[in-house]
Structure formats: structure tokens, C-alpha cells
Amino acid sequence: MSAELQPGVPSGPIAGKWTRRRAELALVGPVQKRRHRVVVVGAGLAGASAAASLSELGYETLCLCFQDSPRRAHSVAAQGGINAAKNYQNDGDSVERLFRDTLKGGDFRSREANVYRLAELSNGIVDQAVAQGVPFAREYGGALANRSFGGALVSRTFYSRGQTGQQLLLGAYQAVAKEAARGGLTLLARREMLDLIVVDGRARGVVARNLVSGALETHLADAVVLATGGYANVYHLSTNARGSNATAIWRAYRRGAAFANPCFVQFHPTCLPVSGEHQAKLTLMSESLRNDGRVWVPGQAGDGRRPEDIPEDERDYYLERLYPRYGNLAARDVASRAAKVVCDEGRGVAPGGRAVFLDLRDAVDRVGAGALRERYGNLFEMYERIVGDDPLRTPLRIYPAAHYTMGGLWVDYDLMTTIPGLFAAGEANFSDHGANRLGASALMQTLADGYFIVPPSVGNYLATARLSPVSEATSEVRDAVASAESRIGALVGSRGGLPAAQFHRALGDLLWNHCGLARSEAGLVAALRQIDELRGRFWRDVRVPGSGASFNQELERAGRVADFLELAELMCIDAVARDESAGCHLREEHQTQDGEPRRDDAHFAHVAAWMHTAGGAPPRRLIEPLVFEAAPLEVRSYR
């Protein structure tokens, strides 16, 4: 293991590690807490829950978000639910089982101790949300209801119709509002972090742009928490909100934070297919539909008949055929890859042949249309509005789309990056999902990080760190501001004639083709050449009207695309270096005869964490070996 990567996992049996760590964490005295300032960047589930909890503890907390209100952060769009090991259904669930499902779902490329802690904290999250007034679905008797999600044989997902993310986010947002009202927390909306301030090797604040006035602001702090989400928008078309971006974590990487497993990207199997070149984003249909829907394509290639005219024996329910035990609830990467395979065989459905059917016919017969409307009402409305079909009469047409990034900033067991004082929470870190995330686990992880892990970890850091005084005049602070200024100057000063969106589309196309559902060394090498060339053209030909000194959404877009153009390169470099298949990362050179990924545990049972090097030299690849003691390595199978 590299000396630069110290995971800091407590010793002893896995079930006691978190308890032990909590007992070891140093505490800050109540009076001292008020003297420490913590900046939280991002106000989604991870950021809002961390900011509110830190403020409750007594730290002077500042929370920044680029949206006009924290309630709009992209966590709001999560539909299906949140997992917890409550075992309310008495179907055999336990912390142990949620841990093993999550580890196996991630194809054994995540840190075992983190995953166990996540499962352990899951129950407390549901308790916390209920106490905040999150209206989860209930049984008639008043108890909480559950449903099933992919990659699990138990029913452990808590939900609020198809808007679970929204309701959990409102819970966290209202906690932020409560703290802001009390005066412990300051909320700064419409701020975009443009650089990290590092002094004496420690994170000491951020440079942010006030998106309304255009002014650059420095927010100095004793610790910084990045909860800025993932980077699936690097593909241009993804299920992420338009504004979701990688700038904060990318700037942190450029300042010395290691970036782990950048090539691990989840393609969600149940999205609406691409429909036109001007499409702004791809729409997700909750995976919970796989509870009741059956996925199929025609048995014969080129079958142009309408789905209702295709008789039962000429349909191929390929997930049920290939994975009889999990069937339509196979893990996401498995379901996505299977869709690609049947479409590559020419059996995809019209228009365009890049779609499969998700059919609710049998569920309508079994439980009735009313019960299905109760479960998925708002999803059906959304589908009908966009596509024009009623999903209860005509099967939905779905296809995989870029959705979630398991990769992110490398963090130790305390969620601290390789820069002391810089923490990463939620999708922004790499920690818990390995090479594939299970459905309804993202909400769980963001809130475990924000409510329960970041607050004591930040305290431990502040109690033990020796911090030198920092002011606006400190040279590192002035440098960071100057560097953000010069980047803005380069964008608005470019004399080209093309909008940033054109480069973003081109980047998305080439990543989708070469670093998407299937990857090969030859394709990735070609992509690296093309990315380099595209980046050159971007800085030559981009046009950003107006200046940096005012409200300028085109400047925001261009800055984000500029960072995606750099991040895309690191993703491809990582995908080449990981010369195995694992979870979402299918290297065509490494698959079984049935097209299943073939892991190479002898050489790649590790986290790859990349360090930026100055002067244009290639990044350095560090390794954190993964050891599996509680759940021994096995070949993942959903058959």
C-alpha cells in the first residue's frame, strides 16, 4: 500500500469497528466548537444533513449551493426509496445481509469496513427521517411499508411514492432551515465553488463565485466538507440534473486530493431512450418498476409488430431466462448490460432499436391497475406526458443511461480525503459502492455520511489538528483567487464562435461509445486521443458572451464543461489501467462466454486512486489493497 493512502480502518471484528472508532474519536469542547468554522459545499442529502448536524453540535457552519435553494439539489430527483436493515417484513433481513448484498452488488471492489458501517447506520437514518416528519408509505395499521429493489431477495426499501429523494431532502433541508433560524448556520445559495484553499497542506476554505453578482468570494474555514454529488453529466446525456457538475471535486483533485476509481460509472437500466439530438437530459423511471414489470424483447430480430400483437411464446423475458433466481431484480449493471446485448443482436424495439420493453401486463392482472397507480402514480403520469403511452396498456420502452458515479474522491474510514481537513460525503466520495451500486443505496449512503459519520469525524480532526492562522492576505488564499480569476478570464476571453454545449455533446458521444457499457483498450486509447484533441479545440473555439462580473449562465456551463474535459481523460486512463472486468466496468477482453464480467482478484482487488501531478505529467496511480475478511471473495452470481 502506498504511504499516501492510509484507510485508517479500526482493527478487530467487523461488527465492532464503528463502535470502537466512535469511542476513539477525539471530541472538541463546547466552547471550542463555536470557534471552529466549517464550510460545507453542496446542499443535497449529504451536504444538508452534514451542515445541519455540524451546526447542531455547535460549529459555526457555512453551507454553499449553486442552486437558488438547497431544496432543489439533485437528491430531490431520487425516486424509488432508501434501504434499511429493519427486517420489518420478517423476511430474513439483517445488518449482516444488507452488508453482504451491498458488497456483492459492488462486485467486491469496495472497502469492507465502510460497507458494514453503512448497513449498520441504515436503521438510524429511517428513524431520523421519520422523526423529522418524512411521510414514508404506511400500511393501513400505521406501520412503515417496504418494497423490493434490485440485487436483494428481501424487501427492505422504504419509500414515499416515487418521490423518496424529495421527501428525504425536504427533511434535511428543513433541518438546515431550523439551524439557520437558530443562527448556527449560514446558508449561501447561488454560489459555485471554483477552487479549494490549501494552506500548509491542509484544507482551509474555498473560493466561490457568487452566481448573481459574479463576485469571487473566499470562505475561510478550519475544515471543508465537499458534498457536491457525482459526475455522470460528463456523458452530457444522463439522468442527472442539468447543473450537476464535477467542478468542486475536480478542483480538489487538482489541489492534491486523490481521485478513486473514476471509471466506475453506473448505467441505470430503466431510463427513457434517447429521442433526439436536442434532448437536454434522460429521464429515469424508478427501478422499483422492476418489482412489478417484466423486461422482454421479441425473440426474433427485426420483429416490427406492436408489443401487444407478439404472442407469449415469441417473447424473450431475457432477465428471467438468464437470471432465474433474481429475474427482473438482477443488479443494475447486470440488467443494463443484458439490455445492450439483446439490442446489439438486433432485437431492440422501435424506434431506433435501442430500447427494451418493461411490461406491467401481468401485474395488472395480478393486483389490478388501481394498486399499481397507488405505487407508481407519478411515474406513470411522467411517462405518459413524455411518451404519450399509458404504461398500464402499452409496455414502457426503456434503455440504460448514465446515472451515478461510484468513483469519486478517495476518503479514509473517517471520510477524509488525502488533503487533511478536506472531507467528502455522498456521491462525491468513492467509498461504499465498489464497482456497482444497488438501488435505494445512494440515499442511504448520503445520509449515513451526513448525519452520522462526517460530524464526529470533523470533530476528531479539529480536536487534533494544529491550524495556523489564515486570512485573505495569506499567499495561498490569494493564489487560489487569482487562479479562479484567470480561468474565468480565459473562458470569457476566448475568441471562438461555438457554445460550450457543442463540446459537451461531442465529449458525451465519445465517452458513451468508448467508456460506456462496454470498454476495450483499443477504444479507450482512441478516446484519450480524441479527448485531448477536443480539449484543444474547446479552448480555441469556445465562445462565452458577457463577462465574469455579472449573472452569466453561459460562463457557468463553459466552466463545468472545461472540467469535464479533464475528468473524462482520467476516467479513460483509469479504465485502461483496470485491466479486468468488475461490476459496471466491462472490459471486452475480460468476459465469460455468456458475457459476464470476469474479475481478476489476483491483480485488481484494490482501489485505484489517482494523484494529480504538476506540469502536465501523467497522474500517479496509487493502490489501496482490499481485504475481505467478513465476506470472502466469491464470484458474483444473480442466476
Partner: protein, 256 residues
């Protein structure tokens, strides 16, 4: 087809504004309206003109960021839909009949006293956050929650609580109200939390704080006009306003 987007252009909060016609050719009526704005913006940028400023994020009707008055109606008047869920064809359907071939879609910001215009179609809805900060929460600290199934909540309470909690904070209700009232918004929060046992202890205090915050934030008074309900993309009903008023009245009488 060819269309004209008649858009309110205003460079900054202090500057004046005016409608400007932006013709757009080769539009497919199946495009989403905001995608048409994206296309227009790319064309403007390529000619080094200032693109149209507008808020949007999720583009699937849940984040509440988008909000444009389309042909005089907040979110365009399509039932239970936000601006980002509106297609060009649907926007044209409510536009005046084309005179010389091109249909005209009129776009303007959510205008109301409490939402100052930031730029073009972007307004500052921070007043809504300030209302929530006044009391739209349950006072519970992280870590102090009891086991989730300790308090059974009848489905008959949980479902309407979620109906009210579905509010996305877009502000269409305020933009539609002739008084610029945010009573539907505040009422939705009072109903969401007031219907659940977790929100009961603060029910009266919350109602009083919300009502006071509405005034402080510069929203107008509610005269039960009902326009808010008609434009609400999440189908929040005016009974939440009655609930807020009842809670506030009861708290005033009881002194808490």
C-alpha cells in the same frame, strides 16, 4: 416549423426590461419548451449575443427550479406540470393563433413583489426559504430519534401529509395570485407537518410563525381567489390554507 419566442429581457435587477422577439426555425413541436430555449441560446452564443437566462435543473418536474409564465400562465397552464414538462406543441396550443405562419410563445418571469427579477426569466425566490426558516420544520436533533415504528401513523394521515409535502417550492402559486400571496406554499408545509404526530408539538407555534413570516417576506394577503390551486404543478389544494388559518387562529386563542 418556425416559431417566435417573445421573451422578457432584463439584464439585471436594477435595469429596465422589455419583450424581445426571438424567431426560431426548424422547431419540432415535440421538443420540450426549455429545449427550444437551449437551442435558441446556442444560436445566440454563436453570434456573441447574451443568451436567455432561465432557471432549470432536473427537467423532470421535481426540483422546482424552473418557473416561467408562458402565454400569461405560470408553467403554461398544462394541468399538474412544470415549465420543464411543457412541450413546444403544448405551449403553442395556448398561444394566440399565428398570424403569418409563426406561432408566438410569450415567456416572462414569475412576477410578484416578493420575487425580484435577477436576469431575464430568473427571479429571486429566497423569500420562500425564509418562510420555511421561520418554522417549517420539526425541531429534532440528529441522533435523538426514537425507533421508526414506535408511533403508528394511520395511512389516512400519512397520505394527505405526503400530498401536501409534494410541494416543490416553485412559486407558481405566488406568481398566479393577484395579491402575490404565498398562503398555498405555507399552508402546504403546515399541513404536511401538522398532520403527522411528529409535527404536532409545534403545530400552533409553527402556524403563527409561518403567517408572520409571510408578511415579513413581502407576500400579499390571501383572499381565497383560488388561482394558486389552478396553477399548482403538484395539485396542492386550497384546503391547506384553511388548515394554516385554523391552526394560527387556534394558537392565538390558546396563546400558544
Amino acid at each position: 416549423m418556425n416559431i417566435v419566442l417573445r421573451i422578457w429581457r432584463q439584464e439585471s435587477p436594477g435595469s429596465g426590461g422589455a419583450f424581445v422577439d426571438h424567431p426560431l426555425s426548424d422547431v419540432d413541436p415535440g421538443w420540450m419548451l426549455l429545449e427550444a430555449l437551449d437551442v435558441l441560446n446556442e444560436k445566440l452564443v454563436a453570434r456573441d449575443r447574451r443568451p436567455i437566462a432561465f432557471d432549470s435543473d432536473c427537467r423532470e418536474g421535481i426540483c422546482g427550479a424552473c418557473g416561467v409564465v408562458v402565454n400569461g400562465r405560470p408553467h403554461g397552464g398544462m394541468p399538474h406540470a412544470t415549465t420543464c414538462e411543457l412541450s413546444v406543441g403544448a405551449a403553442l396550443a395556448s398561444a394566440p393563433r399565428p398570424t403569418n405562419g409563426a406561432g408566438v410563445i410569450t415567456l416572462e418571469p414569475f412576477r410578484t413583489g416578493a420575487f425580484p427579477v435577477v436576469c431575464d426569466l430568473v427571479v429571486d425566490r429566497g423569500a420562500l426559504d425564509r418562510v420555511i426558516m421561520a418554522g417549517g420544520f420539526v425541531t429534532v436533533r440528529t441522533g435523538s430519534a426514537p425507533e421508526a415504528n414506535t408511533i403508528p401513523i394511520p395511512k389516512a394521515d400519512a397520505d394527505p401529509a405526503l400530498d401536501a409535502a409534494a410541494c416543490i417550492g416553485c412559486g407558481a402559486c405566488v406568481a398566479a395570485c393577484p395579491n402575490g400571496s404565498a398562503a398555498l406554499f405555507a399552508g402546504a408545509k403546515a399541513s404536511h407537518l401538522g398532520r403527522l404526530p411528529q409535527g404536532k408539538p409545534e403545530q400552533g407555534r409553527r402556524a403563527l410563525s409561518l403567517v408572520r413570516a409571510l408578511d415579513d417576506a413581502g407576500f400579499g394577503a390571501c383572499s381565497l381567489h383560488g388561482e394558486c390551486e389552478a396553477v399548482c404543478p403538484k395539485d396542492i389544494r386550497t384546503d391547506v390554507i384553511a388548515r394554516l388559518n385554523r391552526d394560527a387562529l387556534r394558537a392565538r386563542i390558546r396563546g400558544r
